[in-house]
Symmetry: C2
Subunit: 514 residues, 2 copies
């Protein structure tokens, strides 16, 4: 009863916050044809005596984990291919570290209970902890430079939508490049890494990366006559152009954000543009824009970036979209979101996002500097960063849906040791030990006298490719029978008999061919 | 100022709880010659404007992560060799799930703040969440059987001892076998897995596994005349025999636990025994013990277990220790702790521990069963389990200490692209792209015109084995220079020149030989 009430209360709560755009804008709304998260984990359906996981969290069974680990390994290979190293930070941070970084969304932060110590919160993303890490350890880094990736869980008290894969505990895969370099080179590398990461997952739909530059956007607003203190507010209204029409956004700019209709119309002439890199040529002919220092800098950056992306063979993946603004205040340069090229309207969520944030580390360097020792430990200047975050939960849903027709092998067992006849438990244990000693993944049935049929079934259910079979005859002759479970050749149905001493070599050579 | 006060308060708090033995008894007290966790992460030393990690938590830099991931990978290979699959559960659980499982230690549980929803706590170990998982999903498992491993962080509001590697957020590596099988077979497999796991880490000291059986211990207490309701209390006093003398423990049994001196003396005659499996022969001649059903069952189990451990070649690793009791109430069969065979008294902590717990899953199955649907979802009976947990933080300290003399390569970069002369940024980018396309891990300096010397230094610092070098000459002739950075042969100092078209093949063949 309590639970039901709490659920209703949460729904009401959500009605109030539903207009808030999630940070990093990794919308996690797979369309209905996607893999449906197994609801059995969640109490709202299976609710026996509170034996369930907390709201918005779920368990992952061994088959789901096999898919998830394969996904992480693929992404990690790309990250390492580009020189990435990994670090680890705690799952919770001091509350002060997160304060003032997430704007309105900070109400979604999970706090730990006060238990006579510090005030702490579960991390909301991996970006702010990374900036905190750089502020603490920057001095120890070689030239304050670091290419780091991190795959970890983050926490948001958002309204969960389990069937849509939107959770309160979910993974992010981040790659960030910290340090001062020549312009746009790390930015180009990050975008290449993003493309390689999404490519390696073999998703059913191609993707495009919407890209824009905060300095161009700010320049446009200035040129159109938006007051400086209204720029962020106008920016977040413009960001809605992926879900609303220009007429609707224009109305919001005028009635909610207080712009004059003429200013809104000027903005409209810019932000409805999207296209490939040639859009830059159009902007370069705009004298008003070029005269604005912010816009001019942004245009110069983009021009260089497109050159580099061309060399990296990923320029054609980009959509230069002047309406892309991104929710977060801290971006200072290029911003981007990867979205699937949609087969349906439903599929509009982004699957990765990021941007350049040159001032975030600096937020941790400010403050009282009277203590000499403290001063010594700090990096001398803010460390500029560019990075991206892959929304792996949504990608996981897509990958699970692809598996619906195919069985998933969740173990890595290579050999099942089977006895025919009288159980032969100790002989099976001896064989398993020999296989383990040789580094072969092997198992057997934990029964004194298992039925042959049950052993076959177990071997088949676990999709184990090889069986080593012993019976009284084989034992007497110091031999074993080896059978490939997938052998379609009926003549080989019974397997081949080899000397016990040759067993390991025979198995290794068969495994190598698989 | 606030922080200092909180710190002092915590110390006082700890004085009160210092007698509590940690759950799973994975004491994490490396001796002074071990790797000292990098204190720079912790605010108590670097405390500039609260930019630090919460008390008892720390960051791991890229070199520490390289060591940690290698350790996890080694352990995971062993787990998979024995047919283990992995699952994932949330980092926090409903408070009720953890309630009543940890006895006095439950005061160390981290709670989440009440924010208008459920009451939740960070997980204290991976065992109770696993039992909750089995209670929820047992029906979906094949015959209620599961061999699962899990590597994850757990949380305890213990007094941190950073220099000793005792943290509030730390990893556990667990392997558990759930399901009904024939006696002692999974138990033997778990102990073999434990031995293989510790062996694969190549620790500087050999280890032994102290082993005992709860049923033997309970039988001994009954035979000696301990009242049934005092058994757990006496048991936890006996467990201190690894740190206290018998005279001290005897005194505690009499004054604190209320035993008659004669009863204590009888117990003393049993629990001071430790040795190899032949101790079992002594027990088998003890008619009083054999007449006790609990002890008789325990002795029968141990006899069978030692047989199996002999087949698995790990019997010689065991120390049968009748004083081993383990803190937790829920163990119902064999119990064990792995400890290094000590070069110093300091080194007494255990590095892994576990036991059989047949009733824990049942605790989640109890409760109101009037609802037919609920009943249908539950497993019909408690699922018996045996498992173990490796105290990886302590092992990590030992491994880091071994690395003190040797540098750690934290990246997996194989090739560094270097230019001689005029920068050649775009040419370096082209080369890097070709390498990435071929699946080679490659990087280059993010500078328009980097100095040659700086590129060499970066390549050497990052311990990258191969350099691809281009200058104007090479470019004009469509060639590149390849240099093995570790080549000791001075004649090869400048590397070899190959046609650009042969670059990938040349690099791949050199990498294969490394």
């Amino acid at each position: 009863m309590n639970i039901r009430l709490a659920f209703n209360r949460s729904r009401l709560f959500v009605l109030n916050v539903s207009h808030i755009k999630p940070y990093h804008s990794l919308a996690l709304f797979p369309s209905s044809h996607l893999y449906q998260a197994d609801l059995s984990n969640h109490g709202s359906r299976r609710n026996y005596h509170s034996v369930k996981t907390p709201k918005g969290t779920r368990d992952y069974n061994e088959k789901e984990m096999a898919v998830r680990e394969k996904m992480f390994n693929s992404i990690q290979r790309v990250f390492k291919r580009h020189g990435g190293v990994t670090i680890d930070t705690p799952v919770f941070e001091l509350k002060d570290i997160l304060a003032g970084k997430y704007g309105e969304e900070s109400k979604l932060i999970y706090d730990l209970a006060e238990q006579g110590g510090e005030n702490c919160s579960l991390r909301y993303d991996l970006t702010v902890p990374f900036a905190r890490y750089l502020a603490m350890h920057g001095k120890e880094l070689n030239q304050y430079q670091l290419k780091r990736y991190q795959i970890g869980k983050v926490y948001r008290r958002d309204q969960p939508a389990m069937t849509k894969g939107r959770l309160r505990e979910f993974y992010q895969c981040d790659f960030d490049i910290a340090g001062t370099y020549d312009p746009m080179i790390p930015d180009a590398d990050i975008l290449r890494i993003l493309c390689e990461s999404l490519d390696c997952l073999h998703l059913p739909h191609p993707f495009t990366i919407k890209i824009n530059h905060r300095k161009i956007l700010d320049g446009i607003f200035q040129v159109c006559g938006v007051p400086d203190n209204a720029i962020r507010s106008v920016s977040s209204a413009i960001d809605k152009l992926d879900k609303m029409t220009w007429v609707q956004v224009r109305q919001e700019l005028i009635s909610d954000r207080g712009l004059a209709p003429s200013v809104a119309d000027k903005i409209g002439q810019y932000v409805q543009h999207r296209g490939d890199f040639t859009l830059l040529d159009t902007l370069m002919k705009d004298q008003a824009l070029l005269a604005n220092p912010s816009a001019a800098q942004g245009i110069k950056d983009m021009s260089l970036l497109f050159d580099y992306l061309d060399i990296f063979d990923v320029r054609h993946k980009m959509t230069f979209d002047l309406s892309l603004a991104r929710g977060l205040d801290y971006y200072t340069g290029i911003i981007y979101e990867a979205i699937p090229v949609n087969p349906s309207v439903d599929d509009m969520g982004s699957i990765a996002a990021g941007g350049r944030y040159d001032d975030l580390v600096g937020m941790f360097l400010a403050g009282d500097d009277d203590n000499k020792k403290k001063k010594k430990m700090k990096p001398k200047q803010p460390i500029p960063c560019v990075g991206m975050s892959i929304g792996v939960e949504r990608i996981f849903s897509i990958l699970m849906a692809q598996h619906e027709q195919r069985p998933i092998k969740s173990n890595e067992t290579q050999v099942y040791v089977i006895s025919v006849g009288d159980g032969l438990l100790k002989e099976r244990m001896h064989l398993a030990k020999e296989l383990w000693n040789a580094g072969i993944n092997a198992t057997f049935m934990y029964k004194n006298k298992p039925k042959l049929e049950k052993q076959w079934t177990a071997c088949e259910n676990d999709m184990i490719p090889l069986a080593v079979i012993i019976g009284k005859d084989e034992l007497d002759q110091d031999k074993v029978r080896i059978k490939e479970m997938t052998a379609k050749n009926q003549a080989q149905g019974g397997g081949v008999i080899v000397n016990r001493a040759d067993m390991i070599n025979e198995l290794v050579s068969r495994l190598e061919k698989m």
